[in-house]
Symmetry: C2
C-alpha cells in the first residue's frame, strides 16, 4: 500500500518500536542495578523469582517468552492481603446483615443470620457452604452492579480489621506489591484469580494492586441486563454463576485469559489446581505458595485453618518444584505502609 493510511500504519509501527525501546531501557537498566524486591530477604526464594524473570525476559535465553505470553496469576485472600480471622468479603457480608437486619426481623431467629448478627463465627462456620451462600445471596444480590460497588466502596472506607485495627485495603502485603510491580515492569500482565466475588474485588483491585477490572477473575452470581425507567442497568440475581476456587481456577483462567499463564502465586489448597495447571506447561514456570508462619507480624496457620487451609500444597510443593515462601523468613516487611483514610 502507498495510501496516506499506510503512512499512518508505518508511523504507528515506528511508534511501537520506540515504545519497545523505551520499555527495554526502563525495565532493563534499573532492574539490573536496583533491587526490585527490597521487602524480600535475600535468599533462595528471592533468587528463584529473579532468576525466573530474567530467564523469560532475556531474548538470548532459551526460556525467553514473548511479552504477549507473559501472564502471571495471583490469588487474593491470603496471597495479596490477609484472610484471617475470616475472609474480608465474609466480614462484609456479616456487616451487611447487621445493617439490613431492621428490615428482616426473622433473621434474629434463623441461621445463618442469627449467628452473623451475634458475630458468632463458629456458628457461621457450622452453617457450612449452604449457610455462607445464603448469607451472600441475601447481601450481594437484588441491586444493580453500580449500587453494589458503591456499598462495597463505602464499607471499605470505614471498616477496620478486628485484630490489626487498620483499613482492609491497607493490609496488603508489601512483598507482593513489589512482585506485581516487578513483573509488570518486566512486561508481564498481572491477573487476580480469586475465590472471592469478582465485583467485590474490582472495587479496590485497581487502587490497591494496580490491577484493572478486566484483569480480575473471581466467583460470580448471575446478572441480567435490564432497562429501568429508560436507564440500562446490570442487575445482580441471587443465583451462583461461577465458583472460582480449586479446579474452578484453571477453568476461570481459561475462560477469561484464554491462554495458560507462566507464573502463579497462591497460599492455600484452593490454589492447588491453579499452580498445577500453570506449572505443568512447557518452558520456564514459576509457582509460589506464601506460607503464613508469622504469628508475630501477621498470623500462623496452615493444615488445620478454617480459612486458607494449606495441607496438600505443603506436602507436594517440593516434589512439584513449587516455591514455598516463608512469611517469617523470606519477608523483610509484611504490610504496605499505611495509606490513611481515603
Amino acid at each position: 500500500m502507498s495510501s496516506p493510511g499506510s503512512a499512518f500504519v508505518r508511523a504507528t509501527a515506528l511508534a511501537r518500536t520506540l515504545l519497545a525501546f523505551c520499555a527495554l531501557v526502563a525495565a532493563g537498566t534499573p532492574g539490573a542495578q536496583a533491587d526490585p524486591l527490597p521487602a524480600w530477604h535475600d535468599g533462595a526464594v528471592k533468587a528463584r523469582i529473579v532468576a525466573f524473570v530474567r530467564a523469560v525476559t532475556d531474548p538470548a535465553s532459551r526460556d525467553f517468552v514473548r511479552p504477549a505470553d507473559r501472564i502471571a496469576v495471583f490469588d487474593n485472600d491470603g496471597t495479596l492481603w490477609s484472610d484471617q480471622p475470616i475472609y474480608v468479603q465474609l466480614q462484609f457480608a456479616v456487616d451487611r446483615v447487621k445493617a439490613l437486619a431492621p428490615q428482616h426481623p426473622a433473621w434474629r431467629t434463623t441461621q445463618p443470620f442469627a449467628a452473623a448478627l451475634a458475630g458468632d463465627l463458629e456458628g457461621l462456620a457450622a452453617s457450612g457452604e449452604k449457610g455462607v451462600v445464603e448469607l451472600l445471596m441475601a447481601t450481594h444480590a437484588g441491586m444493580t452492579s453500580e449500587q453494589f460497588a458503591d456499598t462495597v466502596r463505602e464499607w471499605l472506607a470505614t471498616a477496620r480489621h478486628p485484630k490489626l485495627g487498620r483499613p482492609y485495603t491497607d493490609l496488603v502485603f508489601q512483598p507482593m506489591l513489589e512482585l506485581l510491580a516487578y513483573l509488570r515492569a518486566s512486561g508481564f500482565r498481572t491477573w487476580i484469580v480469586s475465590g472471592g466475588g469478582i465485583e467485590f474485588l474490582r472495587v479496590f483491585a485497581e487502587e490497591s494492586y494496580g490491577i484493572p477490572p478486566e484483569q480480575v477473575i473471581g466467583s460470580s452470581i448471575r446478572t441480567r441486563y435490564e432497562v429501568r425507567d429508560g436507564q440500562p442497568a446490570i442487575v445482580r440475581l441471587p443465583e451462583v454463576d461461577f465458583v472460582d476456587d480449586r479446579a474452578g481456577k484453571p477453568v476461570g483462567i481459561h475462560k477469561f485469559v484464554g491462554r495458560r499463564p507462566i507464573a502463579a502465586f497462591g497460599n492455600s489448597d484452593g490454589d492447588f489446581e491453579m499452580l498445577e495447571w500453570v506449572s505443568s506447561g512447557s518452558g520456564a514456570r514459576l509457582a509460589l505458595l506464601v506460607h503464613h508462619d508469622d504469628a508475630e507480624r501477621e498470623f500462623a496457620y496452615d493444615r488445620k485453618s478454617a480459612f486458607g487451609r494449606l495441607d496438600r500444597g505443603l506436602d507436594e510443593a517440593a516434589k512439584r518444584g513449587w516455591v514455598l515462601a516463608s512469611m517469617k523468613n523470606d519477608w523483610r516487611t509484611v504490610f504496605a505502609p499505611a495509606k490513611g483514610p481515603r
Copy 2:
C-alpha cells in the same frame, strides 16, 4: 522510602513517563497528518468517528477520557468479517458433521444432521435454535480446548467462502481493521463481543484483528479441569454456559471488562442492547452499525435476513444518535488485501 527499591520504582515511573511521551509523539503527530481511515470515504460517518476520537483523547476537551476507560467493543460476524450466506462457525460445524459422519451412521437419517450432511441450509434453519445447539454440541464438545483449537486452525487454513472463494480469515473488512488500528493508536483497548464461540474466535482474533485472547468475549460451553495421565487439561462439555447475544452482550461485557465501554460497533439487532448500554453512558459515546447494502462488493440484507438481521436498529439508530455506516457509500474498500495461505 529511600531503599534501593524506591530507585527502581522511580526508574519505572520515569520509564512510564518516557513511554507516555513516545505514545503521544506516535499517536499524535501522524494521526494529525495522515488519514487514519483511508478505506472510508470522506463524509459524515468518517467525520463522526474522527471527531469522537479527538474529543476523548484531547486533554483540553471536556469529553476527555483517561486511557484506562478507553474501551471499544466490536461485534464480529457481519461487523469485522462476513456473516453470509451463513455464520462462518456454523459452516465449520457443518463441515465437522461431514468429517465425523462415518463414526455416526444414525446422522444420515436424523435432523439436524441429515440437513447438514445434505448442505440443506433451509432444513438446518428449520431445525431452529434447538437444532443448531444440537449441531454445535456434537461438533464442539468432548475434546480438550487445545484439541478443539487445533481443529479450528486446520479448518480455517483450508476452508474457502462458497461465493467469494477466499479463506474466511481473508474476508475481514479493511475499513474495520483501520478503525481497530486507529482506536488502539489513540489509547483504546479493543474487544470483540460476539455471539460466536469464544474458543473459536480466539484461534484467529490475534492474527486477523490484532486482538489478544483475553480481549475476546463470546458464547461458551461449560468446561472442566481434568488431570489426564498426569497432564492437566481443560475439557469441553456438551452444555451451554453463556449465550453472548442480544441482552447477553452487556452482561458479557460487564463480566469480562468490568466497566462500560465508550464505543460500540455492530451490524445487527443482536448488537442492539450492546449499543444501547454503551451509548447511554455519560460523556462522549460512539455507537455505529454497519449496514450491509452492497450486493455488488459483498451482500445486501437487513430486515429479513436469517443471519445478521437488522430491523429495530434501522428504525431507531437516528433517534438514538447511532451512526449508520453504509458499506456501499461509506467504504472505499470492503475486504483487506489477500494474505494468501497460512
